[in-house]
């Protein structure tokens, strides 16, 4: 596993993204029934917003305020609502679980008129395993996972409920994808 003792470099600019998604990167993708189209995957993407944060910072409120205003002007209201929620929850997870000394990057990107959100951060392998497990549960049944996360909130389980990810899939209907490269983990919320 690559070791990055200082700050992680920014992810490569996303234009050549389709070729970056090499087979060697472990990925969790939506099940075939909801897999986004090949056309969407290979389309050129435009980065609308790229923000970089320090782990442990508290950027959520101000970022939400900014994105809410920006997206209200830039995309349709329904899409803005979806993207705002996904951006908030992905950023919350990324800043919570990022290892110190690395950067958290939040991007809003557009491909053929569809807007997606991705957040990337460095983290420990245990967190990656937990995230992968969670995303697999969500992909299997988003609604069931959402309700089960609500119940975990109710019973106050040992581990932190991951309601935010379940909301992205169940509440606003975006598919979640996971990419990892060494310590770097990227979660993307994409339109189905």
């Amino acid at each position: 596993m690559a070791h990055n003792p200082t700050r992680a470099s920014l992810p490569a600019r996303p234009t050549p993204r389709p070729t970056q998604q090499s087979q060697q990167l472990p990925r969790v993708q939506p099940p075939s029934s909801t897999r986004t189209s090949q056309e969407w995957r290979t389309a050129k993407e435009e980065v609308l917003v790229r923000l970089m944060f320090t782990p442990g910072s508290s950027p959520l409120e101000t970022t939400h305020t900014f994105l809410n205003a920006y997206l209200a002007e830039r995309v349709a209201p329904a899409a803005a609502q979806r993207v705002c929620l996904a951006a908030y929850e992905l950023l919350a997870n990324a800043t919570n679980y990022a290892t110190l000394g690395s950067d958290v990057v939040l991007e809003i990107v557009e491909r053929i008129g569809k807007v997606s959100v991705r957040a990337s951060n460095n983290t420990i392998p245990a967190r990656v395993a937990m995230l992968r497990q969670q995303l697999e549960k969500i992909q299997a049944n988003a609604e069931e996972t959402f309700v089960s996360e609500l119940k975990r909130s109710m019973t106050g389980g040992v581990s932190r409920p991951m309601l935010g990810l379940a909301r992205i899939a169940h509440e606003v209907g975006l598919a979640l994808e996971l990419e990892t490269s060494g310590e770097r983990v990227t979660v993307t919320a994409v339109p189905r």
């Binding site: 508290s58 959520l60 409120e61 939400h64 305020t65 809410n68 609502q81 705002c84 929620l85 908030y88 929850e89 919350a92 959402f146 309700v147 609500l150 119940k151 909130s153 109710m154 409920p161 309601l163 935010g164 909301r167 169940h170 509440e171 606003v172």
Partner: protein
């Protein structure tokens, strides 16, 4: 009935809170990272006042809340738990929601399911 004068809402950025004799009305958005520290405490105070005043029902009007984070959803779950205690005094908790707001449409039925006997969901105009 609640005494609004004795229930001063916390000052939370982006959320407007008002208290009436029947309950609480919230509007705006809840984006603060740890809403339990402010809103959670306030909700608990309102809950205790409702018990003290022997209310049959308390209205929590969330129609104007356009966005809440996951931590805020947990506050509503907590409230549902409080009114679902098997013993002692209790009241009916009525959430008034706007079904056109996605988070409200999706979350409240699930919350009500978790505390079915004591939580009512009302669709407001």
């Amino acid at each position: 009935m609640l005494n609004p004068a004795s229930l001063a809402p916390p000052d939370v950025t982006s959320v407007n809170i008002s208290v009436s004799a029947e309950g609480v009305t919230l509007s705006g958005s809840i984006t603060t990272k740890e809403p339990d520290r402010s809103l959670g405490r306030f909700f608990r105070t309102v809950h205790e006042a409702a018990l003290q005043n022997r209310l049959d029902e308390l209205r929590v009007d969330v129609r104007g809340l356009s966005f809440v984070n996951s931590s805020a959803i947990r506050l509503f779950i907590d409230w549902a738990i409080w009114v679902s205690q098997p013993t002692g005094p209790r009241y009916r908790l009525r959430f008034v929601r706007n079904p056109n707001v996605t988070w409200q449409r999706v979350s409240f039925p699930a919350i009500a399911q978790l505390a079915a006997a004591h939580v009512v969901i009302e669709d407001g105009a």
